[in-house]
Amino acid sequence: MTPTQQLLADDPIWIIIIKVVGLFALGVVLTLFMINWERKVVGRMQQRPGPNRVGPGGWLQSLADGLKLAFKEDIMPTLADKRVYFIAPAISCIPAFIAFSVIPFGGEVSIFGERTVLQLVDLPVGVLVVLACSSIGVYGIVLGGWASGSPYSLLGALRSAAQVISYEIALGLSIVAVILYSGSMSTADIVASQSGGWYVWLLIPSFVVFVISMVGETNRAPFDLPEAESELVGGFHTEYTSLKFALFFLAEYVNMVTVSAMATTLFLGGGQIPWLGHLWSGFDNGWFQFLAFIVKTLAFLFVFIWLRGTLPRMRYDQFMRLGWKCLVPLSLLWILLIFAVRAWRQSPAGDVPTLLVAGGIVLAVVLVVAFLVPDRKSSDPEPIELGSDYPVPPLDLSVPTPPRARTRPVAPAAGREPASVAAGEHGKENE
């Protein structure tokens, strides 16, 4: 048993209840905060203030919206499959919160005199819990879309199913390298193994693949195809109103927080503060680690908002091509490379200079081959035969560049000249 598991094993029941309630509160509060923050940041990016009426600085807007949402009329569509329509929001919401339980928010602290860790459970397969929860959570979206009995919802559900399955593969492959280096799937162990250096430096390709596929996994812009407003009205939640819609919303934002927290755990050393620990030993406190963890998570959440404010939504086939033809092969190659390097390092003859020299030689050979292989000649376009008498511009049409004198703006003194020119042209046309 690791120290974390020992500390967690003797938790009394009241401390577990405190942690559960705290996790739930954290999820809800972060959701309320995120909605507001997102609207404010996107507003700032679009040169407008964003919500600024309700509460101090507009920060209570999402709370007001949430309360209003809860009191709206609950509509059940006539074509809906009643039971499935009813449980779908719950199915999407519950796993989102369960995934929260394995996140190592901070190190050892004392709560009312009881030594414990800021983490609900530390399973030996903690990383898989998050993957499992996200694969269950998508059932909520798919079933909600199907049960609504509307074509738009169904299309959104189908897209979501295909999207989450595809991107979960890339997500899982990007985690492999981290598990390999930390030698454990427990989240607390992964954080502990990064005390020498964060994996983001060591495993940059894994980090990039993880960050891209976590955006795809949470159905966020630019990958928000299941709810593409321009194509599917509202996607899977077109028919949902009131609290059920609020639950879908909550699940989406809690999922965002979860994957951001996972990215922090896997690649940014969890709650570890790299250099402040040397300045003052008090920074090793579990609560400071909690603070650092939240700050790092918020940085990822900001990237989510940033992406939404910056990138246009991708087309569906482009999105799938990115996942299957780019991210998955890239991850596989990277894992192969890591295996090779580790196998060499663990062999008796394995030393770093030989490895670097070998890597350099391989790189040089690849570069030389890449330069020697001639460029593919672009085939001449086929001659276009005109199949009809429909008027088309001539194929050898070249637009003449206007002489420099004409492009210069007309001097204000010759104010009447344009009119006369125009009149002259009209005259020519009339002839």
């Binding site: 048993m1 690791t2 598991q5 094993a9 577990i16 499959d81 499935v84 339980s101 459970v121 399973l123 030996p124 397969v125 898989l128 819990v129 993957l131 499992a132 694969s135 269950i136 998508v138 059932y139 798919v142 079933l143 199907w146 009995g149 169904l154 559900a157 189908l158 199913a161 295909a162 989450v164 399955i165 979960e168 799937m185 276009i384 035969e385 005109l386 199949g387 009809s388 429909y390 088309v392």
Partner: protein, 274 residues
Amino acid sequence: MITTLAQAAADSGGPMTLGESIAFWILGIVALGGALGMVFARNAVHSALFLVMTMLSLGILYIVQQAPFLGFVQIIVYTGAVMMLFLFVLMLVGRDSSDSVVEVLRGQRIAGLLLGLGLALLLVAAVARSLTSVTPAGLGANLQGSNNNLPGLGRLIFTDYLLPFELTSALLITAALGAMVLAHAQTKSHEKRGQRATVLARLRGEHARVSPLPGPGVFATANSVAVPALLPDGSVAPESLSDIIESTPVEEIEQAPADPHALTGGTPSQDGDR
């Protein structure tokens, strides 16, 4: 709660603890109910959902039995991926399609019943033997406690059982490739045409007309499909009429006399304030 139960469960193959038996009885009932529901549900999607419920309970049972890796892989792979693909297909089939009562193959039901019974007998015989004559080794064997059975599993898979493991993966890859080849061979004839090829085909006269159908027109008052496009002289552009909409019988709505009070629910005042 599940994890607490899991932590409460004994590491060795001793008698069942209280938490373990509570978890077993709850999850066993849920799993069995899901299995029965899967068989008896009329709607195919409901059947799939019941199966998901059974698989989830089995996964949690594995976790309670100190096999967290197996449990979560069950949830991720079977519940998350395989059943999701099932649902994918079922949703495409349509929500109103249910089982037909017509027997397609003659004697299919009798044969299915007999084979099912035979399989059940085989399974029961195998499980019964393992319940009586096999002594449980427990997870404490080989110095691998409950939290270390993951590395142990990995070592076994990649050393002693490497060949079966690789054979299984080769089988799966062959199946996937075969499916792709078969599916691709069928769609080759109507491959998707690019923009350039479409334009060429249009110009060659393979389409009804070269240009797209007319839009609503400059003088149109709406851009609905039900509203025809107007030509510059105000007449209707015949090509803009949709065959489907034109052939659909429409019931004329009787125009009620305009009454502003009908919207607010009030009664029209008699003293004539208009």
